[in-house]
């Protein structure tokens, strides 16, 4: 039959997570269709139609999908899943919110946050904070899958899919959007940045945390954090990297004042190169770091900033 990918977007632009999910979907079942559900999101549908390997884009444009709340999304998906043998979404907070509802209503289990498609019915996924990898085979029938976006390459551009408008499904209206407080940043997104610099409890305060900004600017890095830094209020929740935060896998990950608890490692140990800056030479973070700098971060960070300037990074 075919697979259906739920597009990740904010009504204005299509997120890269969609391209990665298309790559996974193509390994499970083809052709690949993409569902763009939102409000005034025609531009997103056009962008989705340009992804290589996508045959058709379904566009559901209605006020009830403006925030992709789980309940109306469930109703919409159930109205079209008949035609698909796999439904996939990125394991973002949107995908994780919606997809288990769809799986339950289809009476199938969901396969969460896969790392690899071994064959169309066999998948690898992390369990126990990535301390073990489970290989599991799904039974016959529909597959409902979320994917870890750092584990798949993005499908390219150059597609010429058709766009089909679909009608909104009825929704009981039991939930409604009431507001948001989004972190504003000119920096690249954590999950797609090539360089990430993260701070932990060692930074000591929200004020000190800003020390990382100048380095992030010079390296075009995203800024992340450990749970302890978020809990202490140094930075907002969406900075959290780890088992229960975001998984990242940049070319370079710099951990500053982070001890390296397994829950943190779960979210960053697939990075290509890891640098750890910590005053405790026994800190577990050094066990996964390619390069370790033992010392006081309040001395090292300004030095690093200055040395980058000297070498022409602006």
């Amino acid at each position: 039959m075919a697979s259906l990918v739920i597009a990740e977007h904010d009504n204005a632009s299509l997120k890269d997570a969609t391209h990665k999910t298309v790559t996974a979907a193509a390994q499970v079942s083809t052709p690949v269709h993409v569902l763009v559900a939102g409000e005034n999101c025609a531009a997103v549908a056009e962008a989705a139609a340009r992804i290589a390997g996508v045959e058709k884009v379904l566009l559901a444009d209605a006020p009830s999908y403006a925030r992709q709340l789980a309940e109306p999304m469930e109703a919409l998906l159930l109205s079209i899943t008949d035609k698909y043998d796999a439904i996939l979404a990125p394991a973002t907070t949107t995908g994780k919110n919606i997809l288990p509802r769809v799986a339950a209503r289809l009476d199938v289990g969901q396969i969460s946050e896969i790392l690899k498609v071994i064959s169309p019915d066999t998948f690898e996924r992390p369990i126990y904070a990535g301390n073990a990898i489970e290989t599991l085979r799904a039974p016959e029938g529909k597959k409902v899958i979320t994917i870890r976006i750092t584990a798949f390459a993005a499908a390219g551009e150059g597609g010429r899919a058709t766009i089909e408008q679909i009608v909104a499904a009825s929704d009981a209206g039991h939930s409604k959007f009431a507001g948001e407080a989004l972190s504003k940043s000119e920096r690249p997104e954590l999950t797609s940045a090539k360089v990430v610099i993260s701070g932990g409890r060692g930074l000591g305060s929200a004020e000190n945390f800003k020390l990382l900004d100048s380095i992030a600017d010079k390296l075009h890095a995203a800024v992340g954090a450990s749970r302890a830094a978020v809990d202490a209020g140094y930075v907002p929740n969406d900075y959290q990297v780890g088992q229960t935060g975001k998984a990242v896998a940049p070319d370079l990950y710099i951990a500053v004042g982070i001890s390296g608890a397994i829950q943190h490692l779960a979210g960053m140990k697939d990075s290509r190169k890891i640098v750890a800056i910590n005053k405790d030479e026994e800190a577990p973070i050094f066990q996964v770091a390619d390069y370790g700098l033992v010392g006081d971060l309040f001395k090292i960070i300004p030095e690093l900033d200055e040395e980058l300037s000297k070498r022409g990074y602006k």
């Binding site: 469930e74 949107t94 994780k96 919110n97 997809l99 288990p100 509802r101 769809v102 339950a104 209503r105 009476d107 199938v108 969901q110 396969i111 946050e113 996924r125 369990i127 126990y128 904070a129 301390n131 073990a132 990898i133 489970e134 290989t135 599991l136 085979r137 799904a138 039974p139 009981a172 039991h174 939930s175 409604k176 959007f177 009431a178 507001g179 948001e180 407080a181 972190s183 360089v195 749970r227 809990d231 929740n237 088992q243 229960t244 975001k246 070319d251 370079l252 397994i262 829950q263 190169k273 890891i274 640098v275 996964v288 390619d290 390069y291 370790g292 033992v294 030095e303 690093l304 980058l308």
Partner: protein, 248 residues
Amino acid sequence: MKVLVPVKRVIDYNVKVRVKADQSGVDLANVKMSMNPFDEIAVEEAVRLKEKGKATEVVIVSIGPQQASETIRTALAMGGDRGILVKTDQMVEPLAVAKILKAIVDAEQPGFVITGKQAIDDDANQVGQMLAALLGWPQGTFAHSLELADGSARITREIDGGLQTIEVKLPAVMTTDLRLNEPRYASLPNIMKAKKKPIEEKSPADLGVDITPRFKVLKISEPPKRNSGVKVSGVPELLDKLKADGVI
């Protein structure tokens, strides 16, 4: 209003999990087990609702082996009123957990269910959403804060871009995120009192739920190992190395 809180017994979050050499699973022998940390947050929130007079009774449910009753006891010591143990020695997949919970909700008629967002063993992040769907209820996942009113709940959620607030009609399911509250430690007198609180035992069959796994686990393997690298002498050496690696 009655509040239902499902709690799972899992390997303690401090334990370094080891994969068995024959790849059949992870080593659970003599390993410390505890309540799933997100479920502690769920219990705490329910108990606070009771303390504020918004909940009348907090019912704790766990699905698992006999020892899961210890996890229920912990929740009762934190302030839960009574427990239900759905006893099974089998592995129960999230969909089956959700079906069991639905059967319990049908019988108990709570107005609000609070689950953890994720069990730290299977890392599935499914049960709360599945339960809500099976019940036809709305959900507020990854809760950062909660305001409960008559007939509705205002839930602020931790999402990838920041925070989002939604309003859901009751009955509803909420799943907890880390910042919702800081769970209390049970006091000794409360631990003693909890010993007298009732725990009812049932089986999945009593509830009419088939828990036969749908998925076949082919193997559980070690993740790729990362070798620890080198300590560098200072910032210039670090930058030289990163440059040579082509990552800056």
